[in-house]
C-alpha cells in the first residue's frame, strides 16, 4: 500500500513560490488562506535555505488525535483529510500541528475561526470524488484522477516531491549521493518519525 508523503529538497528550493500559487490556482484558495508556504531560514546569509511546507500528512497525525470532534480521517494512501461538515473551528489542530498547516478563514467579529482548511494532498474530502460539493469545500481531487499534487508537479526545480514515500526517499537519497550534500528531508523526523539515511 502506498504511503503518500511530501519531501522538500532544500538544496534545490529557490523560494520561487510556484507551489504556493499552483495550489491557489488548482483549488481557488482565497486570499489569506495559505495551504502551502515557503519559509526561508537564515535569510540573506550564507547557508540560507528555503523550504516549502504544507500539511505533511503525518504518521499518527497530532491534529487527528487532538480534534475534539474527530473530523480527521486518514485515507488508504495515508493522506490525512478532514470533514468541514464536522469541523467546529476550535483551533486545536493548529496548536498540535508541528508544521503550521491548518488555516482558518476569519469569520465573525473577533477573529474567531471558521472551518479549518488545509492541504489535502490534492485528494479532496469526504464527498464523492470530483463533485462540485467536494471542489467547493476542499478543492480539486487530483489523486482520484491519477495525478499527484500540483504543487510538486509544477515545482520549478523539482525540489518538492510528492508521492509514494519510498520512491521519493529513494530519489532524494540518490540525489544526495550524486551531488555529495544534503541538508536533510525537512520535517520527516517530526512527521513520519523517520529520516532518510544518506
Amino acid at each position: 500500500m502506498a504511503r503518500m508523503k511530501f519531501l522538500c529538497d532544500a538544496d534545490r528550493c529557490i523560494e520561487c513560490n510556484a507551489c504556493v500559487t499552483a495550489c491557489k490556482n488548482e483549488h481557488e484558495v482565497p486570499w489569506g488562506i495559505n495551504r502551502r508556504r515557503v519559509v526561508t531560514i537564515n535569510d540573506g546569509k550564507p547557508g540560507e535555505r528555503s523550504i516549502s511546507m504544507a500539511c505533511m500528512h503525518c504518521t499518527d497525525a497530532p491534529c487527528q488525535s487532538v480534534c475534539p470532534v474527530n473530523c480527521f480521517y486518514t485515507t488508504a494512501d495515508a493522506v490525512v483529510l478532514h470533514s468541514k461538515d464536522l469541523c467546529i473551528g476550535c483551533g486545536y489542530c493548529f496548536y498540535a500541528c508541528p508544521f503550521g498547516a491548518p488555516q482558518y478563514p476569519k469569520v465573525g467579529n473577533f477573529g474567531s475561526r471558521g472551518k479549518m482548511d488545509k492541504c489535502t494532498f490534492c485528494a479532496g474530502g469526504p464527498e464523492a470524488d470530483n463533485t462540485k460539493e467536494e471542489y467547493e469545500k476542499y478543492g480539486a481531487n487530483r489523486l482520484a484522477q491519477g495525478k499527484l499534487p500540483l504543487c510538486a508537479e509544477m515545482c520549478s526545480t523539482k525540489s518538492l516531491l510528492a508521492g509514494d514515500g519510498d520512491i521519493i526517499a529513494q530519489i532524494y537519497k540518490e540525489r544526495v549521493t550524486k551531488r555529495g550534500y544534503g541538508s536533510g528531508a525537512w520535517g520527516w523526523q517530526t512527521a513520519y518519525r523517520e529520516s532518510i539515511a544518506t
Binding site: 500500500m1 520561487c16 485515507t75 470530483n130 526545480t157
Partner: protein, 984 residues
C-alpha cells in the same frame, strides 16, 4: 448532517476499495516519475521500489461542470525561459492548468507567475472596454470612436509636427507576428521612433555581443548549461527572475559537481545555491573581469590556440588588463585577489565554462563595455562554440528575444538589417511596396549647415529618453519637432529611470494612448493630465495565436487558449484597425490575409520567413513550429534534438539561424558558432561581419593589414578549410558553385539586383539559393570570421572601467571618468557634466548608500499585470528596500518599519518598508522594480479607472533612479546610483 455521515462512510469505503481494485493498475514507477517530471533526471536504479497505488484517471474531470475539456498549449508570458502552459478549457472558459510535461525546456515546471497565470484571463482587474479621459474623468467609449479619434489626432500631429513626433512604444509581450507588425507599422507611418523593453534590459547585450562575434543573442541554451563544469552568474538572479532555468543550472551543478560561482553586489537567492559567492561593488564588472584575466594571462591559463585561430585583437586586451593588478582590483571592486584568482582558475581550467548574465551587467552607462568584457573572458579561455560553454544571456520577457529580432528598435528594421538604404530596399522588396513610397513617408531634417537628411536612415530616440524628447527645447532634438504623442502598446510606465521627469513628460504630451490589458502606470502617473488620453483593452498572449522566441532563440507556437475577454482585442487587430484608419492598411497587409479585421498570423510569419534571411528566421514556417509543439515529447532534454517522430533531426523550436527556406529543412542552431557540427546540422563559425581585414598602426608608426577572417579553423565538413567572407553571387561564381543554383533561384537573384546581381548577398537573396548552395558545400552563408576582442568602431573598442555617474567613490572619478558629453540618438548626453557636478557637490556624502534594483519572483517588469493577480499579489504586499543591519542600526531603522528613501536627483523621495538583511553589504541597498501606484509619497490609487487598479501598489524605484546612458544604446543606469534612507 446525518446524511452527510452516510456519504462520508461510503466515501471512505469507496476509496479503500478503489485502491484495492486497482492495485495492479495504479501508478507504476514510470508513470510516477513522469508525473513528477523526473523521468529524464537520470534516475535509473529504481527497479526494486514498491509501486505507488493511486487510482488511475479515466479523464482529468475538473470540478463538476461536466462540460468537455479542450486542452490548449501556449507559452508562459512572464520570462524568456519559454515554459509550456497547458490550459484546460470548458465552454470557452479557462478552468484548469496542468503541467506541460512534454516541454523539453520546462518539463512541467513553473514559477509562481507561471503557476498563477490562469488568473490573467479571469482578469478581475483588467480593462474591460476602451476608455477616454474627459476633463479628468475616465469615460467608456466604443472601439470605433476610439480608433477614429486616435487616428484623427495622429493625423493632426503628423501634419503639424511631423511623423517623428509620434512615438510607437511596442512590447516584448507581443508575439513575433505582433512585434513584426508593430515595427512594420512604424515604417509605414514613417518613423524610427519605435522601441520596446529590450532597450532597458538587454540592448547593451545585443550591441556588445553582436559587435564581438556576429549575433547579439544567447549563444547556447538553458538546457545546455547542464553540460557546464564551471558556471559564472554575474549580475543576474535567475532563481527569482528565471526560476525554471535553475532546474537546468542546479541539476547540471549536481550531476557534474560543477562549480557555480555567483558574482553580485547582493547575496541573491541564486547565490544561496552557489559553490562560491563573490561580493562586488555595483558598477565594477569590468575591473572584476580584468582582474580575472590578469590572473589568467599571468598564469598562462588562456586558450592560446583558440585565440590564435578565432580572435582578433586579444593583445590589446592584454595591455589593458596588465593595469588591473590584484591590489587595484581590490581597491576598486572590493574583491580580494586570492578569491578572484581561484575563480579565474576555475573558469579557465575547469572547462567547459559558461558565463551567465542579466540586467546587473547591462543596465549601466558602461553596459555595452561590460558585456564586451564578458565575451572577451569567454574568448580568452576558449569557452565559446561548444556544449557547456558560451554567453548564456537570460532575457526578460516571453518574447523579448523575438521582438528584438524583429526590429522593435530604433536602430534597425526587422532582423538586424539596420536603417541603411539597402535595408529599406530589402524590406520594400519583401513587402512589395516601392522604396520611394517610404522615402516620402519620413520627415526630412535640415542640419545647421543646410544638409538635408531623411530620418528614415537615422536612429530614433530610445525609450529611456522619450520624455527628454518631449520636454527639451525643440532645437536640442534632432528631428522636426518634439515627441508629441506616445502610442504605448504593452509597456509599463515605471520601467524607465527618472520618473519625476517622466511625469512632466506625460503631462505635456498632446496624445497618450495606452493599449494594454491593464491601464498601467501611464494612466495613473500624472493626475494633472485631464484629456486626450485613451486606454485600449488588449488581450494577453493567452488570448491570441502566434509564435514566441525564447532566450535560447527557439521559437514556440502558442495557441489561443480562450477568446479575448470582455471587449479586448489583440494587438494585431488594433494595428490593422489603426492602419486602416490611417490609410495604409492595403499596402501594409498586401501579402497578409485579414479575416474580420484579424490579420492571419500564419501569413505574417510566412512574410517574416520570406525576409528573415540575415538571422535565419527563414526556415521556421508555421507548419514546422506547430509540428514541434505537437511532438514536444520527442525532443531530448539536454541536446534538444528530436530523435524520433515527425520532427526527427530538428532541434526544438528551430533555434535561429534556421537557414534556407522551410523546405530546405534546416534543423535550427542550438549552439551558435559550434564548429563541431556541419552547418547543415546546426553548426557555425564566428560571423565575418566586420570586414575582411583591418589596417593597424604599429608603435613605430608603420602600418600593416591584419586579416579578420578565421585562421585555419572551420566548421565540420566545410569545403573551405580556412576563413572566408560572406557569400554573394559573386563569391559563388569565384568558387564555381554558382552552377548549383537552380534557374528559379537565379531568376529571383537577378530580380533583386538587376544591374549588379553579383552583389546580391545571402542576406537579401529572396530565393534562399545562395544560403542553400553555401550550406551544401559545408559553409556558413555569413562567412567564417574572427571574433573581436578589439571592437573598433565602438566608443570603447577595448572596454575600460568607468565609474557610474553617481558613484560612491568620487575619489576614483579622476582616474576612471565617464565618457565626455556627446550627441547620440538625436539628443545630447551630458553624463560627464552630471558626474562632475555630483563629485563637486559632494553628492556621495549626502547620499552615502548605493541603490540598486532587481526582480522579485512574484512580479514581472513594471508589475501592473502581476500586481493585479490576486494569487501573486498576496505574496508581496509592500514595496521595500533591503538595507544592511549596520546601516539600519545607524539610522534607527527596524525590520519591517516604514522608511523614506531619497534619491540623488530631482529632490526625489519614496516611502517604503525596510527589510533589514545581510543580503546586501554595508553601504548598499536594493529595491524590487515592479512597484508603482504610489509616487513621491502620494497614493495614486484614485487615478486608475474604477476597478482596474492593481491590488498592490507601491513606490517605484525609478522614482529615485538617476541620469546616465550607455553611449552605444541609450541604456539607462538604474543598477548603480545613490540614495539616503531614514526612518519614517
Amino acid at each position: 448532517m446525518l446524511i452527510k455521515r452516510t456519504e462520508r462512510q461510503a466515501r471512505r469505503g469507496s476509496l479503500a476499495s478503489a485502491v484495492a481494485n486497482t492495485s495492479g493498475g495504479g501508478f507504476d514507477r514510470r508513470t510516477f516519475l513522469r508525473r513528477s517530471g523526473l523521468a529524464a533526471g537520470g534516475l535509473a536504479a529504481l527497479g526494486a521500489l514498491p509501486l505507488s497505488s493511486v487510482r488511475k484517471a479515466e479523464a482529468g474531470a475538473p470540478p463538476a461542470k461536466g462540460a468537455a475539456v479542450t486542452i490548449r498549449k501556449n507559452i508562459c508570458t512572464h520570462c524568456s525561459v519559454g515554459c509550456t502552459v497547458i490550459g484546460e478549457v470548458q465552454n470557452g472558459v479557462w478552468t484548469g492548468q496542468e503541467p506541460g510535461w512534454d516541454s523539453p525546456i520546462s518539463r512541467g515546471s513553473h514559477c509562481a507567475k507561471g503557476a498563477a497565470t490562469r488568473e490573467l484571463v479571469h482578469g478581475d482587474r483588467r480593462l474591460r472596454y476602451p476608455m477616454k479621459l474627459v476633463n479628468g474623468q475616465w469615460t467608456r467609449i466604443s472601439w470605433e470612436v476610439a480608433i477614429n479619434e486616435i487616428g484623427d489626432k495622429l493625423a493632426d500631429i503628423r501634419a503639424k509636427s511631423g511623423a517623428d513626433s509620434v512615438y510607437w512604444l511596442g512590447s516584448a509581450k507581443f508575439t513575433n507576428e505582433g512585434a513584426y507588425l508593430n515595427r512594420k507599422f512604424a515604417a509605414f507611418w514613417g518613423t524610427n521612433n519605435s522601441d520596446h523593453q529590450a532597450r532597458i534590459c538587454h540592448s547593451t547585450t545585443v550591441a556588445g555581443v553582436a559587435n564581438t562575434w556576429g549575433y547579439g543573442a544567447m549563444t547556447n541554451s538553458y538546457n545546455d548549461i547542464r553540460n557546464a563544469k564551471t558556471m559564472i552568474i554575474m549580475g543576474g538572479n535567475p532563481a527569482e527572475a528565471h526560476p525554471v532555468s535553475l532546474q537546468h543550472v542546479l541539476e547540471g551543478k549536481e550531476m557534474k559537481r560543477a562549480n557555480m560561482i555567483v558574482i553580485d553586489p547582493r547575496m541573491t537567492r541564486t547565490a544561496a545555491h552557489a559553490t562560491e559567492y563573490v561580493r562586488i561593488r555595483s558598477g565594477t564588472d569590468i575591473p572584476v573581469i580584468w582582474g580575472m584575466l590578469h590572473h589568467i594571462f599571468k598564469n598562462g591559463w588562456e586558450d592560446k590556440q583558440f585565440i590564435e585561430q578565432r580572435v582578433y585583437g586579444m593583445d590589446d586586451i592584454r595591455k589593458e588588463v596588465e593595469k588591473w593588478t590584484p591590489e587595484e582590483v581590490e581597491r576598486v571592486t572590493g574583491v580580494p585577489g586570492a578569491q578572484l584568482e581561484r575563480v579565474a582558475k576555475m573558469f579557465a581550467t575547469e572547462k567547459p565554462a559558461t558565463l551567465i548574465w542579466c540586467m546587473g551587467a547591462t543596465q549601466h552607462t558602461v553596459g555595452t563595455a561590460n558585456v564586451r568584457a564578458f565575451c572577451i573572458a569567454l574568448l580568452a579561455t576558449g569557452n565559446v562554440g561548444a556544449p557547456g560553454t558560451g554567453a548564456n544571456i537570460f532575457r526578460g520577457h516571453t518574447n523579448v528575444q523575438g521582438a528584438t529580432d524583429l526590429g522593435l528598435d530604433i536602430v534597425t528594421l526587422p532582423l538586424y538589417y539596420g536603417l541603411v538604404e539597402g535595408a529599406w530596399r530589402h524590406w520594400s522588396r519583401v513587402w512589395e511596396v516601392p522604396y520611394d513610397w517610404f522615402v516620402e513617408r519620413f520627415d526630412k531634417s535640415t542640419a545647421a549647415d543646410g544638409k538635408v537628411t531623411n530620418t528614415m536612415n537615422t536612429p530614433g530616440i530610445p525609450s529611456t529618453r522619450w520624455f527628454d524628447a518631449t520636454l527639451y527645447d525643440k532645437k536640442d532634438v534632432s528631428q522636426k519637432d518634439n515627441i508629441k504623442a506616445m502610442m504605448v502598446f504593452g509597456h509599463g510606465g515605471n520601467t524607465v529611470t527618472r520618473m519625476p521627469q517622466a511625469q512632466k513628460g506625460v503631462e505635456k504630451l498632446e496624445l497618450l494612448v495606452v493599449a494594454d490589458p491593464h491601464p498601467t502606470t501611464w494612466a495613473a502617473l500624472a493626475p494633472e493630465r485631464k484629456n486626450n488620453t485613451y486606454l485600449l483593452p488588449i488581450a494577453t498572449s493567452y488570448e491570441t495565436n502566434g509564435s514566441r522566441t525564447a532566450s535560447n532563440r527557439a521559437i514556440q507556437w502558442g495557441e489561443q487558449i480562450v477568446k479575448p475577454i470582455f471587449e479586448s482585442k489583440d494587438d494585431n487587430e488594433v494595428m490593422y484597425l489603426l492602419a486602416k484608419k490611417l490609410g495604409f492598411a492595403d499596402q501594409m497587409f498586401k501579402n497578409i490575409k485579414v479575416e474580420n479585421n484579424l490579420p492571419v498570423v500564419e501569413d505574417v510569419l510566412r512574410e517574416i520567413n520570406r525576409g528573415g534571411w540575415s538571422t535565419g528566421y527563414c526556415g521556421q514556417s508555421p507548419e514546422r513550429l506547430k509540428k514541434h509543439m505537437a511532438n514536444q515529447k520527442d525532443f531530448d532534454m539536454v541536446t534538444q534534438k528530436a530523435n524520433s517522430g515527425p520532427a526527427k533531426g530538428d532541434y526544438y523550436g528551430l533555434p535561429w539561424p534556421c537557414w534556407g527556406t522551410p523546405e530546405f529543412n534546416h534543423p535550427g542552431t542550438p549552439l551558435l558558432y559550434n564548429t563541431n557540427l556541419s552547418i547543415k546540422e546546426g553548426g557555425g563559425t564566428f560571423r565575418a561581419r566586420f570586414g575582411l581585414e583591418r589596417e593597424e598602426t604599429l608603435p613605430d608608426g608603420t602600418k600593416r593589414k591584419v586579416s579578420l577572417l578565421g585562421n585555419g579553423y572551420y566548421s565540420k565538413d566545410s569545403e573551405i578549410k580556412d576563413g572566408y567572407p560572406e557569400f554573394t553571387l559573386g563569391v559563388l561564381k569565384k568558387l564555381g558553385w554558382d552552377k548549383d543554383l537552380t534557374a528559379a533561384e537565379l531568376a529571383v537573384i537577378n530580380k533583386v539586383n538587376p544591374t549588379t546581381p553579383d552583389a546580391v548577398s545571402w542576406s537579401i537573396d529572396l530565393s534562399g539559393g545562395i544560403q542553400r548552395v553555401a550550406i551544401e558545400h559545408g559553409c556558413i552563408p555569413y562567412g567564417n570570421g574572427k571574433a573581436r576582442a578589439n571592437a573598433f568602431g565602438l566608443p570603447d573598442a577595448i572596454p575600460v572601467h568607468r565609474e557610474p555617474i553617481y558613484t560612491p567613490r568620487p575619489d576614483l572619478v579622476a582616474k576612471y571618468p565617464t565618457l565626455p558629453n556627446r550627441r547620440e540618438f538625436r539628443m545630447p548626453n551630458i553624463g560627464f557634466d552630471v558626474q562632475k557636478s555630483a563629485v563637486d557637490k559632494g553628492i556621495a556624502k549626502q547620499f552615502p548608500i548605493i541603490l540598486t534594483s532587481g526582480r522579485l519572483v512574484e512580479y514581472e517588469g513594471g508589475g501592473e499585470e502581476t500586481r493585479s493577480n490576486k494569487w501573486l499579489a498576496e505574496l508581496q504586499q509592500d514595496m521595500f528596500i533591503e538595507i544592511n543591519p549596520i546601516d539600519a542600526a545607524e539610522r534607527g531603522i527596524k525590520d519591517g518599519a516604514w522608511v523614506w528613501v531619497t534619491g540623488a536627483e530631482l529632490d526625489s523621495k519614496a516611502r517604503m518598508k525596510a527589510l533589514v538583511t545581510e543580503r546586501v553589504g554595508k553601504g548598499v541597498s536594493w529595491c524590487p522594480f515592479h512597484f508603482a501606484g504610489w509616487f513621491q509619497g502620494v497614493d495614486q490609487r484614485p487615478n486608475y479607472p474604477k476597478g482596474t487598479d492593481p491590488i498592490v501598489l507601491g513606490e517605484s524605484v525609478n522614482g529615485l533612479t538617476t541620469y546616465g546612458f550607455d553611449p552605444v544604446t541609450g541604456m539607462q543606469e538604474p543598477k548603480a546610483t545613490l540614495c539616503q534612507i531614514r526612518a519614517a
